[in-house]
């Protein structure tokens, strides 16, 4: 009996946001990210018979997605035939230690920051996956999608005070989870 099993009926509910966030931080294009996530799910369906059950469903889907992202970059590089390597010296008119100035390079720092933030994003989605279905939906609508309270209440058929109770419970759990895994 394999340790993990696949249940494609739950894939979109459970993993679409995580996979989408994972992708968009790596390709920086919403449309491409949507296509890659969709391709991942389709590829997952096609190769279900190859799933051995050793990894979790999400890990397995992520490994497919990673290959899709690599394929995407290979494709755009081969099409354009150019992998650009930019080595622009920060300030040509200034004398000084090249390496030291490179370390302080704004682009380099931004890249590091972006990587850290994308990992933080993955950690937040990890924690969100531990919330109950309703909590996760309400929390996502309010916090990530920025929906108005009224819109969420009518969509979810709840009162405003119910919404704030759900948000409170979700925030407490999220804070505890991130405290353990990130902060």
């Amino acid at each position: 009996m394999p340790e993990h099993q696949l249940n494609p009926n739950n894939w979109i509910d459970l993993y679409s946001d995580y996979l989408f966030n994972y992708t968009i931080t790596r390709v920086n294009d919403r449309e491409i990210a949507k296509d890659l996530v969709q391709d991942t799910f389709f590829a997952g369906l096609k190769s279900m018979k190859n799933f051995k059950g050793e990894a979790s469903e999400r890990t397995w889907l992520i490994s497919i997605l990673k290959r899709k992202i690599i394929d995407h970059y290979r494709k755009i590089n081969s099409n354009k035939g150019k992998a650009e390597v930019r080595m622009t010296y920060i300030s040509d008119d200034l004398e000084g230690d090249w390496l030291e100035e490179r370390v302080e390079d704004e682009h380099y720092l931004n890249a590091q920051e972006t990587l850290e933030n994308s990992e933080l994003g993955d950690a937040i989605y990890d924690c969100m996956s531990k919330l109950s279905g309703k909590q996760a939906t309400v929390f996502k609508m309010k916090t990530i999608l920025g929906y108005e309270t009224e819109a969420i209440c009518s969509e979810m058929n709840i009162t405003a005070s119910n919404l704030w109770v759900i948000i409170h419970r979700a925030r407490v759990q999220m804070a505890e989870c991130l405290e353990k895994n990130w902060f």
Binding site: I12, N21, N117, L120, I144, T149, H168, A175
Partner: protein, 89 residues
């Protein structure tokens, strides 16, 4: 009169948490924030909760989380269900 003012200004921990949550989304009124601040001065639980809550908001803000919107999600579900059907046949 004094008693009335005291009750008027006093909020419970639970109310303070709710106001703090609302304020993370810019939905707390000025009066609610005043009441929260009053409680914040002396209540350690409120102080701890406000600190944690702000930290969470900050983490979410810097991570720049992205998510599929309703339409994108519905479209994905539709296409996925179609593909799932095709797989079955």
């Amino acid at each position: 009169m004094k008693e009335k003012t005291k009750i008027f200004l006093f909020i419970s921990c639970e109310e303070a948490y709710e106001i703090c949550d609302k304020s993370q989304y810019g939905e707390a009124t000025l009066w609610e924030i005043v009441k929260l601040n009053l409680r914040f001065i002396w209540c350690h639980f409120t102080q701890a909760y406000v600190k944690k809550n702000r930290k969470l908001t900050q983490a979410i803000k810097v991570s720049n989380l992205q998510s599929l919107n309703k339409t994108e999600r519905e479209l994905l579900i539709e296409k996925f269900n179609q593909e799932l059907k095709n797989q079955m046949h």
